[in-house]
């Protein structure tokens, strides 16, 4: 009985860990384990984990595989922590590293990440810092000196309820997030208080990533429609401003609908609006 029990557990563990290569672009669920390419070769024939000695450099050299969002390292394998589709990107430089693996998941709730540019709403002014709501579990703190050209005498003109575009310098699960509106050289580079008019609306995080991808056609087509100003925050907030209210509303509705439209439907709508 003990032997039979032993066999069943082993096969269960073996079934659960699949090669990451075969699961690309497929839906993975939290709790699944993925094997990186070198490990599957080792575990295939031997079964006892013997690593055959490789003398030729022709096989894929592992380098450093980067574990992106939605994945975590557990021992030698990758553990999936979010449900979504598994993606992989080969490294650009040829041999540096083994590429990046990540899970494309859909989410509306934002978790602050260091370096992200976000749109926040000022909720309180207390002494030297502003409390800014960024959609996470805690409001972020923003010092009044973290603006371009701000000194103790020359304070920035920020009121409660204003919109701020800034980036995180501290964002982890143990501390309150902190953001600033200048980059490392002290220049604003587009950050700071966002203008008075315009409309702020919220979309899913996946849509923002799609719109900010380098080769996104949606933005180019939108730009051809009307002159507009637009700010994307990685926390799912978009601020848009056009000449008239009607145009602003049209843009907001198009961007929200882009999530669920196919490329053809989108082109139809744009061609209708352009008339």
């Amino acid at each position: 009985m003990a032997e039979a029990g032993g066999i069943t557990t082993e096969s269960v563990a073996g079934d659960r860990a699949r090669a990451a290569r075969t699961m690309l672009d497929q839906v993975v669920l939290p709790g699944e384990e993925l094997l990186l390419p070198e490990q599957e070769d080792a575990e295939g024939p031997g079964g006892a984990g013997e690593r055959p000695l490789r003398l030729n450099a022709g096989t894929r050299s592992r380098g450093r595989v980067v574990c992106g969002p939605g994945l975590r390292r557990s021992g030698d394998r990758l553990l999936v922590t979010k449900c979504g589709r598994l993606r992989h990107k080969e490294p650009g430089g040829g041999s540096s590293g083994g590429g990046v693996y990540w899970v494309d998941s859909q989410q509306k709730r934002y978790v602050p990440v260091k370096g992200d540019h976000v749109i926040g709403i000022v909720t309180a002014k207390s002494g030297d810092i502003f409390k800014v709501d960024v959609g996470g579990s805690e409001p972020a703190s923003l010092s009044y000196l973290a603006f371009e050209g701000a000194t103790k005498r020359n304070r920035p003109n920020v009121q409660v309820g204003d919109l701020i575009y800034g980036q995180f310098v501290v964002a982890n699960k143990d501390m309150e997030p902190e953001m600033v509106c200048i980059d490392s050289c002290g220049r604003a580079s587009g950050m700071g208080v966002i203008g008075q008019d315009g409309l702020l609306f919220k979309v899913t995080l996946g849509l923002i990533r799609k719109l900010l991808a380098p080769d996104c056609e949606i933005l180019q087509e939108v730009g051809k429609l009307y002159p507009l100003e637009i700010v994307f925050g990685m926390n799912g907030r978009i601020w848009v401003k056009a000449k008239t209210i009607q145009q602003t509303l049209i843009l907001a509705n198009i961007l929200e609908a882009c999530e669920h439209m196919t490329a053809d439907q989108r082109k139809q709508i744009f061609s209708r609006l352009a008339e």
């Binding site: 557990t9 839906v27 709403i121 579990s137 209210i245 009607q246 509705n253 669920h260």
Partner: protein, 394 residues
């Protein structure tokens, strides 16, 4: 969690847009959002979607003793709950003001208007009456909870069927749904709430405000009306001052809207009745469209089950039969007795280190058990130290 604050920029934009008679989703001033009504498999269960606001309504009934001062009337009980999934700001302790206001409005709309005939709910006067309980749960908050809740309540009540009861002299027989078809409630009319939001001290008004518009509004006027143009309840909140002709105008608009909504409800009830009569499939699962881009389906994966039988037989053959239970208890010490031996540990392969520990501990028990077995005469194969009985960890 705290509510997301409304930025100055949004507030200004919304007010300017309303002055230009533009709404965020492209509706006109007097337009309602899309209303979708779907029914569950049980009678009395429905989900109403007003745009993105969703309310789930469920009606249930019970036989109870009536109230002392109303011995011949049934009891109605309404309850609206704001579920935490509806909005991040809804927390178990924090929503009391809004909750009380909504519950009171709902009660006034449905109970005081006498839309349900409570006399017909009486079974035995003074002893047994039906208590009808309507539970409403807000599943998603995108503005105008009260309208969606009132539609859900009345639709659920119209859809509900209570068990049939017959009284013969002193005998009361309650029939199960299998014996006799359940009976619908007797409903006189359908009161429906219509909300009007006012902006800029009553200058502009909007029907069916969504969540953004509710945040910037100055005041709210709710009119509950039925299709016969009878006003059941009217409530104005927010402290704005309304003129007489404004209120009259709102009531006229409410009359038109209530007619449309009542037609929609009748159609939905009729559809559901038809589907149930023809024996088709009904319920929430059927109302979810599977052709949309947001629905994700995977193709069914074919599984080869041809060798399942052989594998099953193999496993059965290799497994040992469970030990027979011996009914004579064996007394070890005063207070400790053993009946039988328990079943083999089927949790799978133990690690080597644990097995060794077990062997050390288990040898004593194995010896004792061996002797017991010889006494009782039960033969057990594989009594080696590896198959030590279950060691209870401390």
């Amino acid at each position: 969690m705290k509510e997301t604050p409304l930025s100055n920029c949004e507030r200004r934009f919304l007010l300017r847009a309303i002055e230009e008679k533009k709404r965020l989703d492209g509706r006109q001033t007097y337009d309602y959002r899309n209303i979708k009504i779907s029914f569950g498999t049980d009678y009395g269960c429905c989900i109403v979607e007003l745009g993105k606001t969703r309310v789930l309504g469920q009606v249930s009934c019970e036989l109870v003793s009536p109230k002392l001062n109303r011995a011949t009337e049934g009891i109605l009980f309404f309850n609206l709950e704001l579920s935490q999934m509806a909005a991040p700001a809804f927390e178990p302790g924090r929503q009391s003001d809004l909750l009380v206001k909504l519950n009171r409005l709902l009660e006034r709309c449905l109970r005081n208007s006498k839309c349900i005939d409570t006399e017909s709910l009486c079974v035995v006067a003074g002893e047994k009456v039906w208590q009808i309980r309507v539970d409403l749960h807000l599943l998603n908050h995108d503005g105008n909870i009260i309208d969606a809740a009132s539609i859900a309540a009345i639709v659920a009540l119209c859809h509900f069927r209570r068990p049939d009861v017959s009284v013969q002299g002193d005998e009361v027989t309650l029939y199960t749904p299998e014996e006799r078809d359940p009976v619908p409630l007797s409903i006189h009319h359908m009161p429906i709430c219509v909300s009007f939001a006012f902006f800029q001290q009553g200058t502009y008004l909007l029907v069916d405000p969504n969540e953004r518009e509710e945040r910037v509004m100055d005041g709210l006027l709710v009119i509950a009306m039925n299709k016969h143009r009878e006003i059941c309840t009217i409530q104005s909140s927010g402290g704005i001052m309304l003129l007489k002709d404004q209120v009259l105008r709102c009531s006229k608009i409410a009359g038109v809207k209530v007619l449309e909504i009542t037609e929609l409800i009748q159609k939905a009830l009729e559809n559901d009745r038809k589907v149930r009569k023809e024996g088709g499939k009904y319920g929430f699962a059927e109302s979810i469209a599977s052709q949309r881009i947001t629905a994700f389906k995977m193709e069914k994966a074919p599984i080869d089950t041809s060798d399942v039988e052989e594998k099953a037989e193999e496993i059965i053959a290799e497994a040992e039969p469970p030990l027979e239970v011996v009914s004579n208890p064996v007394l070890w010490t005063p207070g400790t007795a053993q009946i039988g031996e328990g079943v083999e540990n089927s949790w799978g392969d133990l690690e080597d280190s644990e097995k060794e520990e077990e062997d050390e501990d288990g040898t004593d028990e194995a010896i004792i058990l061996d002797s017991i077995k010889m006494d009782i005469g039960v033969e057990v194969s594989n009594i080696g130290s590896q198959d030590a009985p279950i060691v209870l960890s401390d």
